[in-house]
Subunit: 211 residues, 2 copies
Amino acid sequence: MGKVTKIPRPTIERLALYSRPLEAFQESGTPIISSEKIADLCGVNPAQVRKDLAYFGEFGVRGVGYDVKDLLREIKRILATDRTWRLCIVGMGNLGSALALNENFRKRGYHFVAAFDSDPAKAGMKHPCGLKIEPIGKIRDLVKTLKIEIGVITTPPGKAQRVADLLMDAGIRAILNFAPIQIRAPECCVVENVDFTLKLENLVYHLHKSS
Amino acid sequence: MGKVTKIPRPTIERLALYSRPLEAFQESGTPIISSEKIADLCGVNPAQVRKDLAYFGEFGVRGVGYDVKDLLREIKRILATDRTWRLCIVGMGNLGSALALNENFRKRGYHFVAAFDSDPAKAGMKHPCGLKIEPIGKIRDLVKTLKIEIGVITTPPGKAQRVADLLMDAGIRAILNFAPIQIRAPECCVVENVDFTLKLENLVYHLHKSS
DNA sequence: ATTTTTATGTGCAAAAATTCACAAAACCCA
DNA sequence: TGGGTTTTGTGAATTTTTGCACATAAAAAT
């Protein structure tokens, strides 16, 4: 359908979610999957799955279901995960270090091509992931020469906003922030926050409430 | 007010969010804060802040604002973060290891009291965080004797559901899952998922769309 | 060839969440 | 004391999101 509809934000988030079981089914060779099965595995409503997909086209066959391979390819095309992306990490403490070594990123096409740290003692050292740790001052240069598209912030909270500003100043327009503060950014830069303690606080509220 | 209203899920998530700037203001000695200031720092609407708080009582003073210390104490009481919680980590790879060493947890009252790994080579070793790494088989025992309340899963995706089942079997009713799969759990157990790659896929969608 | 079965795509209603807009209350100052 | 200012608390309107329920289409069975 050629209607120009605004895509709900939650829809995009769920599309990524759906791709997880689809990948598993593709690997195990299952050819066809139903909206009900996807919904069940992702903990959502089947109609929701169909509606989410319908925003982008008719990918299924009535009475049959969805072709796993086709659907996965379509979702990847929609999300733009059908290509690789170049990232940098700022803050090579324990967390940054763990992320740089994490297999899940590379497996999905997210390549770390630079690592920064403000600690002069660390600068120049080679990290086990293969990257040389660069000083913060080089962000501007390297973002441009290495064509870095996404910045990952794993600094202490006090330094996060400053680092974000440096990244944006260098032309970065997408930031994944692990510091437990809200990064302020202009419209043109997308920011996603990952705050573990926020999640924990959610957990304990529900634990406490139901006891 | 005495009305029995269901609290919206997003409200709980935002309460935790509001506590971040409140902590900062408390430390810097600012006595009073307005809903507008909180909203601004958290990227939400001021009316939203007031409404969220109003679900739990009248904490502000009209024409003045909110007492920072009071409000923070109230929010902590609501979320049940005014006490300490005992957690364990399962999966002492890079990520699990980084979390065990992360200061933000302890600072907020989340204490890791046990660490597990399925790798027999790791079992028995002492981790830099001070914990001895225990084999998976000891989950049941240790959850009970150490009174562990929350389980953190940092295993590879293939092992995550099995570990979750073990944890729930041992009596755990709250799980923070870092593996990129959807954990299936009965009603009685709260699960929060932290999936970095999901966030990245969100980022790249928006990057791609706006270019 | 026709009926039955199955599972998608979608209009519409319901539910949930957000935001507006304003009365109520507290403070300030003359 | 009273008018002006500020900011909360909240009813109502609006927007967004979800889910039902069924028409539609394809395949399978008879």
